[in-house]
Symmetry: C2
């Protein structure tokens, strides 16, 4: 692991253990503690600023931000639901898993040729046994060569990162409120016509390839979301 990553992780641990009150140590102190250059310290701190856990005040210090509200799903970052709800039990029911060929619309979205094989997956996701969200997901099979039910029932993202050793780059998320159709509302155990939040997510690898497009419709009674901005 890189020096600045290790330092960032270590600082994060110490923040969680409340070893610092209010502020981080000064840059000079951290330089001395970790025996690295100032640039490396600033790089480490910067990654904490990015994820919204500290903020800088010039001339005064790096201040620790109050912890976020529980159970709010963080929309910054390209992680799945699982990591956002550590205290909740997430389970998944796979409704559909098949390989289709990209039509014109999909081929445009994926920047691929028409006919490219694409995994199409529908999953119903539960949080503490309550139906939480329904996912309609596409994966480019040229990039993710295999997804089986045994994987889709767990975490597809974990599989892609840890088993396929691919690295996520960035994502674009588009949000809107919709009225659920009959099927979705019944799956989410809601009334027909009840609202839902639909998030359309375009996820890219760190080489700029788009590998995943998903439409997720959240149960409006359970979905609570968080965005940290700078």
């Amino acid at each position: 692991m890189k020096k600045y990553e290790e330092i960032a992780l270590d600082l994060q641990k110490k923040i969680n253990k409340k070893e610092f009150t209010m502020k981080l140590p000064t840059e000079d102190q951290l330089i001395h503690t970790y025996q690295v250059s100032r640039n490396t310290i600033r790089n480490a701190i910067n990654s904490l600023v990015k994820i919204g856990i500290v903020y800088p005040i010039q001339g005064s210090g790096m201040f620790i931000r109050p912890p976020k509200k529980e159970n709010a799903i963080c929309l910054n970052g390209t992680r799945g639901i699982t990591v956002d709800s550590p205290s909740k039990e997430i389970s998944t029911q796979v409704l559909e898993l098949k390989i289709i060929n990209a039509d014109e619309k999909l081929s445009q979205s994926f920047h691929c040729d028409i006919g490219t094989p694409i995994y199409y997956i529908e999953r119903l996701r539960f949080r503490d046994n309550q139906p939480f969200a329904i996912e309609y997901t596409y994966y480019n099979k040229d990039i993710i060569p295999y997804i089986g039910r045994e994987i889709a029932e767990k975490s597809i993202y974990r599989y892609i990162k840890e088993d396929l050793k691919l690295t996520f780059g960035f994502s674009d998320k588009y949000l809107k409120v919709i009225k659920l159709n009959e099927r979705d509302s019944s799956l989410l155990q809601l009334e027909n016509g009840d609202p839902g939040l639909e998030i359309e997510d375009h996820v890219y690898l760190n080489n700029g390839q788009i590998f995943n497009i998903s439409h997720i419709r959240y149960n409006y009674k359970l979905g609570y979301f968080y965005v940290s901005s700078i």
Copy 2:
């Protein structure tokens, strides 16, 4: 203005004018063009990465991301609606503007004493003459000493930045889907019980002071939102 800010602005202009295709020039080329150090170039590029308009591929270059969908309101950043809809006409009707004293709940949210004077403002906002969102907003009067109707009818954010010369730092946004009450739905020209997206926004200055808390309820037919993640 700082060197890296000027370079970032210049690059952004050139991207918009399509002077670059696919990639930015290499760091070495930019060092030569702008006659600054590599660190300054990287700092400039970094600010473009942050706002999601380029992405890096190590060993290959800095690639330009495709433009975002039109009319999507960007939730990254602490800007108002106005800047997100340059081609749309935004107008505002002030429904309420008064000074109240912080009760216990408000004093906790604002980290201020009970009784601190707080501006309370209700505004109905229109986009191209369609009722677009209703805002319930609080401003700490100790930080924003004056807000009049003439300001609230325009852009309060512009006033704070340009007239008061305050600098925004960061914000926390919490999102959920609600069913609108009778008053809100009628103001937004929707049916009673129709859904809305509620965004609770906590906005901080660059010195870490929280000066604004708002609850904005968007017309579900018009609200379309965007989050760029890394």
